[in-house]
Symmetry: C2
Subunit: 138 residues, 2 copies
């Protein structure tokens, strides 16, 4: 039977993912790792992310442009409030929503219910008008 092996590649992906502030794509992570001098392959990044998601160490969602985005996530089931400007993510424990989802599903005779719930918006920081444009020069 298959015995999982530990490789520096998996650690690298796990670490890069934990450094990211919000949701990132596999391609993003690969670029980041490459820029840091890593020789990791693109396919390996995809595989590592799939493993992390399968092990519930990461959450994944589909962006509106069709990409799959990932985020480090060790905790229990929850959802996200994502800033569409800067990508900052806030985790939301939404027990009321779980309850609601199950109620609605059973009302319609559905079982084995899962759900996709993501909130998008503009965070306080990004919303503050033009101030940051003048101040924020590097």
């Amino acid at each position: 039977m298959t015995v999982k092996r530990n490789t520096w590649q998996k650690d690298a992906v796990r670490h890069a993912l934990s450094e990211a502030k919000g949701f990132v794509s596999a391609q993003d992570l690969h670029h980041v790792l490459k820029n840091h001098g890593s020789t990791i392959g693109l396919a390996t990044v995809y595989r590592a992310l799939a493993d992390l998601a399968a092990a519930d160490e990461a959450d994944s969602l589909q962006s509106t442009t069709g990409e799959t985005l990932f985020r480090a996530c060790g905790d229990a089931h929850h959802h996200h409030l994502i800033c569409s400007e800067c990508g900052t993510t806030v985790e939301i424990a939404a027990s009321e929503i779980e309850t609601w989802a199950n109620k609605v599903a059973s009302q319609h005779g559905f079982s084995q219910v899962s759900h996709t719930i993501e909130l998008f918006g503009v965070c306080q920081h990004c919303n503050a008008p033009k101030l940051s444009e003048n101040i924020g020069s590097v």
Copy 2:
């Protein structure tokens, strides 16, 4: 300035979409149309669907496999309960959810909030056969 024109292709896509029982992909619709003898092009189906979605005549969502799925939808804002077996869709008016989403967002200082909420499960009809299967087995 652009003046919209009416073509049989757009009507065909609109009609095929309204016939579909649940969410379908552009490729799906193209196959259906072809099977019905239509000579419509694939790119045109994509364009027609994009137009319908832009005109709020259709809802779109990303499947877990990365495809974009569409469904005829003229009504107000709502969400869906989708059977992952047969694709049957139930529309859900969820005012409580809208309220919840806005509350959570404002609590975290987010504005211009939008959300993605879809419920997946197995409907009563698709669930029935499986139950009887399990009864006789180990």
